[in-house]
């Protein structure tokens, strides 16, 4: 029973962190261009090459 007092807040807290992280990424524009993000892995970074 005492374990619950720790576990329930932990469970809720982790969930809330996940929710907050999702909102954060949404505001940061990470979901604005899903198809483009998938393609960007093929893009060579020119500046890296020059260095």
């Amino acid at each position: 029973m005492n374990g619950l007092l720790v576990l329930i807040p932990v469970a809720l807290g982790l969930g809330l962190i996940g929710l907050a992280a999702f909102f954060w990424s949404l505001r940061g524009g990470q979901f604005d261009d899903l198809d483009g993000a998938a393609l960007r892995i093929f893009v060579e970074d020119e500046e890296e090459d020059a260095r």
């Binding site: 469970a11 909102f23 979901f31 261009d33 483009g36 093929f42 060579e44």
Partner: protein, 706 residues
Amino acid sequence: MTQAASLLVERDFAVPDIRCAGCIAKLEQGLVRDRRIAAARVNFTEKRVHISCTPDAETPELIGAFSLLGFEAHPIGDGPAEVDGGASDSRALLRAVAVAGFAMMNIMLLSVSVWSGASGATRDLFHWLSAAIALPTVAYAGRSFFRSAWRAVRHGRTNMDVPISIGVLIATALSLYETATHGPHAYFDGVVMLLFFLLCGRWLDSVMRDRARGGVTALLRNMGTGAMVAGADETSRWVDATALQPGMVMLVAAGERLSADGVVAGGASRIDLSLLTGESAPQEVSLGDPVHAGTLNVEAPIRVRVTAAGADTAIADIARLMGEAAQGKSRYVRIADRAARYYAPAVHTLALLAFAGWMIVGAGWHHSLLIAVAVLIITCPCALGLAVPAAQIVAAGALMRVGVLVKDGSALERLAEVDRAMIDKTGTLTLGRPVATNLDGADATVRALLLALARASRHPLSEALTRDLTAAGVTPLAVEAIRETPGFGVEAQWEGRMVTLGRPAQPTAHSTLATQLAINGAPAMTVRFADALRPDAADTIAALEQAGVAPGILSGDRAAAVAPVARVLGLTAQTGMSPQDKLAAIARQAAAGHKVLMIGDGLNDGPALAAGHASIAPGSASDAGKNAADCIFLGDRLMPVAQAIRVARRTQAIVRQNFALAIGYNIVAVPLAFMGHVTPLVAAIAMSGSSLIVVGNALRLKGAAR
């Protein structure tokens, strides 16, 4: 550097040709080499490029930077508010989905312990915790349902949101009461799960609309365009279309679209009227002739004195007709709402019956209310709310892969019902651009020379030549000292000889476009151009007929120009029609009980596209046409039209199956709820089970367009 950064201006450009990772790299790395552009960011999904540039960078210069990289760019004006409004709508829905999803998982976590036998103080604690999570969630995630239900009720109507809102509110209130009185059953998990599934459906619907709207915005050409205007001292500057005033003199280059009505004040050329009237042959204009906004200057640069701009142009008249024609379409009631008309009263009656029945039997108001709530929750249109949007978004995704953009879900529903097709000729059955007709007879050197010269020019005929010759696999010959003289043509040195590509020495027969290749002044070849049929037009007509859709031609062009096309395709044709005539033709068919699919591209088709039961426009259509149409198909092939009808019909079949599944589930579950056997556990399983089945069924549409 920081000072420079603060002076930068942010601009958006639509670039429809972004197709692969290579394009992203080319644009982002190529654009910043221009000293005026500080940063460029590609949005692949919306086919847009966002750039930060110095304030002195003018629109044509920026477009030039794009075309240097081989991309066609269209400025997106200051009016993206409408587009962003839609995007923020689905973003708010996504937030609500996330909140409901979070709450659902955590309440489920607590509920599982209750179902596995937690009792006494532990159960009460878990119920209170659930309540603490559920109440804010219902208040936040349920807003859109409550608002829409309230709007409907206030106007004395009912929609899907009314039973949802009542179910959610009563179930929440009762669960709260149960929790306070240490009762065994609380429905917080059911309530939040319901909201989660319904919000998923809503969100899918809104994403679909956004995606299509993004695609259409990217295609719109006229937004924010303008013209080079000659000043008093022969200097010229760029003026936006909205700022054009009567009396200004526009310099219109060959290949440019006019931004305002006017009269020719200098030069002579041919004007392509096909978007305005459907006429395929370009018209000759010279000093003093009137010209209209939206038409294309094909031959030589001209000066045009503006007589009317913006809302006063000839287009405005067509726009007014379109507005009137579109009103008929807004009366269409979507299938989900039609279902809700019967569903909502049925659900309310059932719940009321359950309550009354158990009261009569003598179960007490508390027990009776519990059962009524169980009936409400179990019949809530969870699967129904998901059935339609899930099927439609999968279908729209499948169609997008074959090059058809569907504007919204109701377009698919209406497209599935059509049994007549009215097809415009110029630009719809035909490609709507000049295609060289006598290249096959030319020898290899001539073809290679043609390509070498043509690709150096932006003239419409040169572009047509370049496209046709490149497609035929011709390699250009090496030429030197290429020079273009506007209005005359391109000249260059080839093996010490002077070669020119330009206007033929003798004028050709009226209404034929031609260009001539000359070597050392002696004509070597005259290339003639005509508007060609789309390559698979005949197959598409056959496919339409096979699908039970009777096609016919509705053209604004002269009978003599339409007849050959009608004969080749074996279609009946009505010719020389004004926009009003086209509207009337569709109204006649509609009055005879037919559902008409209008396929057209021009400004003159705009009202007909708006009036048709469903409508499709090619990607090359006028902005008015693209705005009015329900779907847009890209590329030269016409077959996507037939594919779209087939997919729309399959989608309707899947939607009907989904309805059948949802009703079947209710037939099993409602008696159980009536008998009082539905505990929160049973409700949770039944709800998620039926939703998953419906989504799974919708996923079968994924390959429907193949």
